[in-house]
Structure formats: structure tokens, C-alpha cells
Amino acid sequence: MYVIIAGSGIVGFHIASLLTEGKHEVTVIEPSEEVVDSIHSQLDVKTVLGNAATPTVLREAEVSRANLVIAVTNNDETNMLVCFLAKELGAAMTVARVRNPEYTGYFVSAAKSPSAPRKIIRPKSLGVDLFINPEVEVAEKIKGVLSSLYPSPVESFADGRVQIKEFRVNEGELTDKRLQDIVFPHPCVVAAILRGGEIILPGPDEYITMGDHVYLVARSDSMDEFGGMFARPQRPVRSVVFYGGGRIGFLVAESLEKQEIAVKIIAETNSRCQEIAARLERATVLEGDATDRDFLIEQGVPSADAFVAATESDELNILCSLLTKSLGVPRNIVVTNKPGYIPLAEEIGVDLAVSPLLQVASRISHFVIHGGAIAAPFIGGKDLQVIEFVTSATAHIAQRSLTEAGLPRDAIAAAIVRDDKVTIPPNDSVIRPGDHVLIVSRPSATPAVERLFK
């Protein structure tokens, strides 16, 4: 597959690195010569120097044969223009990162039919197939975790009917039992176990030990009942402290406010505080430094139910959340731009580290999988991928059972959804065209899985 990436900031660079690991052909367009040099010493990609929003540069990058163009420069307008031009010049699929919500969510009523509001910006007419907004994605993820009883991330599939959720094992009841001996309240599949930074695809006689992260696939409506088996549920979040005056904190705070949850936001500069205070109605906005222990105690942070660190600095975020943990805040969430920090942070006591970057990678990764994948987020860092396939009539696997088709060793089928019926774990009946099949696989096995659905 041939992919062009316009802009090589943190997001662009990491997408390029993920794609080259998957043996895809990648060209990066970047206006800065220094950045181009550093890309060259790290990635096996072609680079084109210049402004991606110009036809000459795009043509030099051979946009006409591109299967996917990902525009992730710092500028929303540039990104949309890149996609528009790329589409006109023959690119098959385009993705633009657009941060400003006005572009994607502004509706007007058309003069002819006042009853039917429509978006001013319609992606199709702009040539953009997918808008992505990393901050919004991360905010959604944090919201999901805060509103659940367990501080762990979740991904939904098949129109929300099936979920995969991560649980931390910290209760004695299940530990040191074999998987096949555990009685689950509902049908489910233990898709993977993360132990000591390493992903295990468990067999039936795998043991569960204290400190494991268990990835469980089950119907969405029964998911919360599993939680109690692995860990003691925490009390619902009633108060949250945010650190950082950036967009992520603001977005989460705004929606939590509506749920009647008490919110405090700590920001470092007075001007940013003023701005946030003006836009949020009930939140308490504090000007100060969250590495200051006395300041935190004075502001009552220790009695909060959750602490979210979302400043620009990854290191600061991790440090502050450790500090609040020591002060007695039961949940802490850290936003980090460096995926390499995630296992490290979770190792030293951060409950959840989320990365805008991995969110973006998760959102677009299914585009590079052939064979009708409609979602393929990464879970547990980037070592495991959950792929939702829609079986086509010509697929290799259609009209065969799973054992007959032969899944690769590093992949398991976790669920089959036919019409409204969810089968977990999948039985060995024949897979029909139109079935949604959920596969959990290591990235290295993904190409082999792909072939089954091609």
C-alpha cells in the first residue's frame, strides 16, 4: 500500500514509523529541511521537501497512485486543502486532522428547507474521507474511563454491541487460577493478558496472576458485571481535578460539568485561566503549579476522586499524577505524546496513560488493512490490534468455518456478529458474507489475517 503523509510532527512521524514497520510504502512531505534530515536517519521513507498544499509538491510525491493521504500538518486549513488537492489529483482515500470544532460541527439551516439543518463543511465536497481530531478522541477516551467504575480503557465494535475492555487484576479471588477453571457470569473471551510489559495470547491453561492486565471481549451490556471479578469497583467519580489549560482538559471538563461532576482546573498562566473561566460555568479555575504539594493540599486536591494531568509536558504530567497519588487521589490519568512512556508510567503507578498519537493511529489503521476492515484500534500500546472485518462474498474465509480457514498463530477470533446476534466466543459454524468478525491479533500476524478476508 502506498501512503503519503503530509507533515511530520509527532503524529506524522509515528504514523510513518508504524506504517513502515508494516512494510508499506511511505512518502513524507515536509517543508523543513532539518526535519527531513532527521526523518532520513530514522525511517526508510521517501521525503519530499515543500508545502504539501501545492499541486507540484503533491505530484512529486506521486499522489496519483496513493492509496491513502494523511494530512497532519499543524494547520487545519492546510490539511483540508491537502486532502482536496490530493483527491482531485487521484488519491484513493484522504484523512485530515482538523482540530477546530467549527469546521466539523457547525450547522446551518439551508434556505430552501429550513427544517433540515446541514453542515457548512461537508467532508465529501472537500475531498476529505475522514476528519480526525486527536484531542477530541483523547477527551472521549478519558470521559469513558471516568464514567466507568473501573479505571481502564474500552473499545467498542459492531455498532457498540461488542466491547473489548482492559481490567487490572488486583483482587485475590481469581489469581492463580487457570482460565479454564474460572466461571464467568456471561459468555466472554479473554483475548490477551499484559504481564510485565509483554502481551500474551492465552491458552485455556494460562494462569492469571496479580498485577496482570486482562483484555476481555464481551457484549457491551454485560461488561460492567465482569469488572468485580478482577478488581474492587471504585466509587463513582464525583469530583475531578485537571492540570493543564489545554484543549483536552477543557473538552473533558465541559462535558463533566453537564453531568453534575465537580471540576477544578489548574492552569499555570493567568491569561489561560481567565479564558477557561470565561467559557466554563461552574468549574473552579485555579492559577498555580501542580508540583507544589502545599498548593495541592490547600486546594483540597487529596479528596478528589480523580486527577487528570494534561499539560504539554509529558514528564510534568507523570510527575504530578504520582504526587497526587501519594496524596491519596484514587485514580489518575496522564496524557502523553510519547507512546514509549505509556508502559513506563503505568509501571510506576499511573492508572492510565493515554496518547493522542495512538488514538489517531488507531483511528486510521484500518485504512491500510485490505479486506473490508472497518476498525482496527491498537490496544495495550501498539502491540495488539483488534480488527473488525465485514466478510465480503469473495473473501477467502466466506463459506468456511474458522478452523477450516486456519487463523495464524498470533491471532484469535473473539466474536462474530450476524445481524443482531452476537456470538462470543465464536463457534465453529460457517462464516457467511456480511458477518462482522472481530479478530485480536499481534501486528506481525495482521497481514496473514488480512489475506483470509481478501
Binding site: 502506498y2 513502515t20 514497520e21 526508510d44 521517501k46
Partner: protein, 483 residues
């Protein structure tokens, strides 16, 4: 630095080399000469050593760093030269091992300087192996390696860049492996075409093979004492001239022409214009010089001068005339062409036309700034503007090139050669040309040079083939520190 990883790839490389020894082995069996045992043993040694090294040093995941890549490339060329000399040593082609090594280095680096005093008395299979080493070295053994094996992402890019410096800008495809494949495919295509044409021209299969294997890499070995002059055929000379000229062109341009159908790239390339311009202008000047001084007819003068100019400028080293007995101007002009060399991204060696162009433009800009320091004059190359960093890299490379020439010249003088021989032997070695002037001229060979001199020249050839830096960084202490 992980020595184990380096050894892993070097092992594989040596094993591949052993595989290519099978071709002369087959030839040896077909012609029934007594050196087939030498080839069989050499191939077995290469395979055993290579595969054992490869097997003993398993590598897991992990990328090849730039440092490791440089070591693989430098070590790969040295090992290839050493193992490539085995057939000569085992067949007893030379009396000393230094000579066997010299011939092997001269082969792989596509220099084409020989220490054989008589070529036609050698076994055909040995001569074929000489030409095969040139063919392997021409487009680069490491590049072939990258094209063949599905390795290492960025590591592959580091390898190719260390072998063909300057490809950073000339990467043709998003994945470096595809680039390596494309250039090798072009190279093989040209070689096949030349082989067929030479056969049509009436050469025996043996001569057609050896000449082909030495033309496309701009090598210069033949199976005859008199080089191409031995065939005494205008048709053969024409074919060889054409393919030498093609081998001296940036292969990226062919790629754009054939894969991307962009003839514009070819026609508007500033380097290509200067390359052909120089070939024609210098040929005409030398032809004038020849007909004035030696009294040759215009046609004969041009025929001789054109062949020699193309051969020397592309750093091939084939000859149809002994240019050492030519008038002084012709000899000097040829010596200068040996320094200029062919285009970047071609199989030719020496400084490269593009660097000459950049240097002249840079000097011109400096001249303008001398009388008006406030003018801002960008350095244009075709449509592109070169940044200061690119220009300074070119200047650094040129300075180093001349320092190498000066150093080599002093050493060769110290071992007792006269000035002309010393200078031209170093220029011809660093530029991978082959024949020089005076005692190392087209009619002579490198046999008489003392062992120390031969070793220095071998170093010059290797350093010149890898465009200096890849070999020379091995001598900087900081390369080895901080593993």
C-alpha cells in the same frame, strides 16, 4: 555498536559471493582447464565460512544503526576482496598473495588495474572471474544484498547510503529496497542487451561475456592483452562506447524514463548535459591535437580520441590506442578527466560531474560576491536551489578527495616511482579508472610496483569506490568509542 549484528550480515554476504563463484567453476569444467578445483574449493570456503558466521550470530529484531551499516559496508568490501582473491591464490595465478589481492580489489572496485603481465596466457575461467568481480562491484554488492534480502527497514537505507553516497537525494522509491531492485534490474537489462549485441558483432561467447561484465560496471578488465583494440572492429568499439556512456549516466534518470515515463527528467538534467558536453568537447580537442601532432586522418583521430575519452571519463579503462604515447595536451586532458569521472548515481567512479558543476558555480558566486559582498546569489542547479549544507558537503568531499590524491602521491613517490607514474597511478586508483600514464600506462601494468605501493593503491581503490567517507570514518577514533 553490535559487532554480532555486523558479523551476521557479513557472513551472508560472503556466502553470496561463494555462490557467484559457481559461474567460473562451470566455465572451467566446460573448457576442461585444471583450475576447477580452485574454484570449487573457494566456493566451498566462502559458503562454509559465510554460513557459519551467519548461523553463529543470530540477530533478533532491532534496527541496524548508521554506524553498524557503515561497518557492514566497509567490512563487506574488504571481505569480498579477500575472499574474491581465493581463486587466484588457489589456482596459482600469481606468485605472491599481495598480487592476488591486488587483482581482486582492482576487480571489485571496478578499477581494472592489473598485475598480470600477460593476460591471454591465463585460463579463461580465471579471466571470467576477474570480470565477474567487476560486474558485482559495479552496481554495488551491498545494494545487491539489499535488493535480494528482505531486511531491516531503515537499516537497508543506511546500508545503501553508505555504499552509494549521494543517493539520499536520489532515492527513487519510498522503500529503499525497491530502489535497489530497480537499479539492479536496469543494470542487468543493459548487461543482457550488450551481451546480445556483442555476440551479434561476432565476438566469441567468452569475450562477449568478459567485455560485458566489465563495461556496465565501468571496470576495464578484458580477456585480451590489447584490451578492446584486440578485436579491431568499429562495430564492437561502437557498442562498447555506447554502453560505457550509458553506464556513466545516473541510473535514476533511466528509472524515471522507463518506469515513470518522464523523459523530461532526462532532458533537463543539468549533470547529464555537462557530462555529454565534456565528452564531446574534450574528444574534439584531443582529436585536433592528435591529427596535428601525429598526423592521423580526421576520422581515425576522432575514432581513437572518442573511445579513449569515453573510457577514461566513465572510469572504465578500456583502450583501443596507447594514449601514453600521445602528445602532452592529450595526456594531460585525459588525466584531468580521470579526476572528474562520471555522473553521480552511475556505476562510474572518481569525483563525479555534478560536484564539478557545483564547485564551479560556487566559485563563480564567490567571485560575484568579491566585488559586491551584499549580493545574494543562490546556487541553482537546474530548477533546484542548493542549500549551504549540500554545497559544503560537496566542498568537504572535494577537499578530502584531493588530500587523498596528495597523500597517495607522496607515498607512491616514496616507494620509488617517478612523478608522473606516482601521480597517475594514484589518480587512476582513487578514481577506479585503471590505466594511468608512463610506467602504469595502457600498455604497461602494475606488476613492478613494490608490495607497499600495491597495498597503498588497494587502499586508494577501496576508499575511492566508497566515495571516501565510508572507509575513512573507520579511522576516526570517535567511531569506535562509546559502543
Amino acid at each position: 555498536m553490535r559487532i554480532k549484528v555486523v558479523c551476521h550480515y557479513l557472513g551472508l554476504l560472503v556466502a553470496i559471493l561463494g555462490f557467484f563463484m559457481l559461474l567460473p567453476l562451470v566455465w572451467s569444467i566446460l573448457t576442461g582447464d585444471p583450475v576447477s578445483a580452485a574454484f570449487a574449493t573457494s566456493a566451498a570456503i566462502c559458503a562454509a565460512f559465510g554460513l557459519l558466521l551467519w548461523w553463529l550470530t543470530p540477530v533478533g529484531e532491532g534496527k541496524l544503526s548508521r554506524r553498524e551499516a557503515i561497518l557492514v559496508v566497509a567490512g563487506g568490501w574488504i571481505l569480498a576482496s579477500l575472499f574474491g582473491s581465493l581463486p587466484y591464490a588457489l589456482a596459482g595465478t600469481f606468485t605472491s598473495y599481495t598480487d592476488a589481492c591486488f587483482e581482486s580489489v582492482s576487480g571489485f572496485t571496478t578499477t581494472g588495474a592489473t598485475v598480470l603481465t600477460s593476460i591471454e596466457t591465463q585460463f579463461e575461467s580465471i579471466l571470467l572471474w576477474r570480470s565477474i568481480t567487476q560486474w558485482l562491484g559495479g552496481m554495488g554488492i551491498i545494494t545487491l544484498f539489499v535488493a535480494l534480502f528482505p531486511i531491516l527497514g531503515i537499516g537497508a537505507a543506511h546500508l545503501v547510503e553508505a555504499e552509494m553516497p549521494g543517493t539520499e537525494a536520489g532515492r527513487l522509491t519510498p522503500r529503499i529496497r525497491d530502489t535497489a531492485r530497480a537499479v539492479w534490474l536496469l543494470y542487468m537489462g543493459f548487461s543482457a542487451l550488450e551481451l546480445i549485441m556483442l555476440l551479434i558483432a561476432g565476438l566469441s561467447p567468452f569475450h562477449a561475456l568478459t567485455v560485458t561484465f566489465s563495461t556496465m560496471p565501468t571496470g576495464g578488465f578484458t580477456g585480451t592483452n590489447l584490451s578492446i583494440a584486440a578485436f579491431d572492429s568499429v562495430f564492437v568499439e561502437g557498442i562498447v562506447i555506447f554502453f560505457m556512456m550509458m553506464a556513466g549516466v545516473n541510473f535514476g534518470l533511466f528509472y524515471f524514463l522507463l518506469w515513470k515515463r518522464q523523459a523530461r527528467q532526462l532532458l533537463r538534467n543539468p549533470e547529464l548535459k555537462v557530462y555529454f558536453g565534456l565528452l564531446i568537447v574534450v574528444s574534439l580537442l584531443i582529436a585536433l591535437n592528435l591529427s596535428a601532432d601525429l598526423g592521423l586522418s580526421a576520422g581515425e583521430a576522432f575514432r581513437q580520441s572518442f573511445f579513449q575519452v569515453v573510457s577514461v571519463m566513465t572510469t572504465t579503462g578500456f583502450t583501443t590506442a596507447n594514449f601514453d604515447i600521445w602528445p602532452t595536451f592529450a595526456r594531460a586532458a585525459l588525466l584531468m578527466l580521470m579526476i572528474v569521472g562520471a555522473s553521480a548515481g552511475s556505476t562510474g567512479g572518481a569525483l563525479k560531474v555534478i560536484r564539478l558543476v557545483v564547485l564551479i558555480k560556487y566559485t563563480y558566486n564567490q567571485a560575484i560576491r568579491a566585488f559586491n559582498p551584499r549580493t545574494v546569489v543562490p546556487l541553482r542547479l537546474g530548477k533546484a536551489i542548493l542549500s549551504d549544507r549540500v554545497v559544503s558537503r560537496v566542498i568537504g568531499m572535494t577537499v578530502l578527495y584531493f588530500l587523498t590524491l596528495i597523500g597517495g602521491f607522496l607515498v607512491m613517490s616514496a616507494v620509488g616511482l617517478d612523478h608522473e607514474t606516482a601521480l597517475s597511478s594514484v589518480i587512476a586508483s582513487v578514481g577506479n579508472v585503471g590505466p594511468g600514464l608512463a610506467l602504469v600506462g595502457p600498455a604497461a601494468n602494475y606488476q613492478f610496483i613494490p608490495p607497499l605501493g600495491k597495498i597503498v593503491l588497494m587502499g586508494c581503490m577501496l576508499v575511492g569506490r566508497l566515495e571516501l567517507f565510508t572507509m575513512l570514518v573507520l579511522f576516526t577514533p570517535s567511531f569506535w568509542k562509546w559502543r
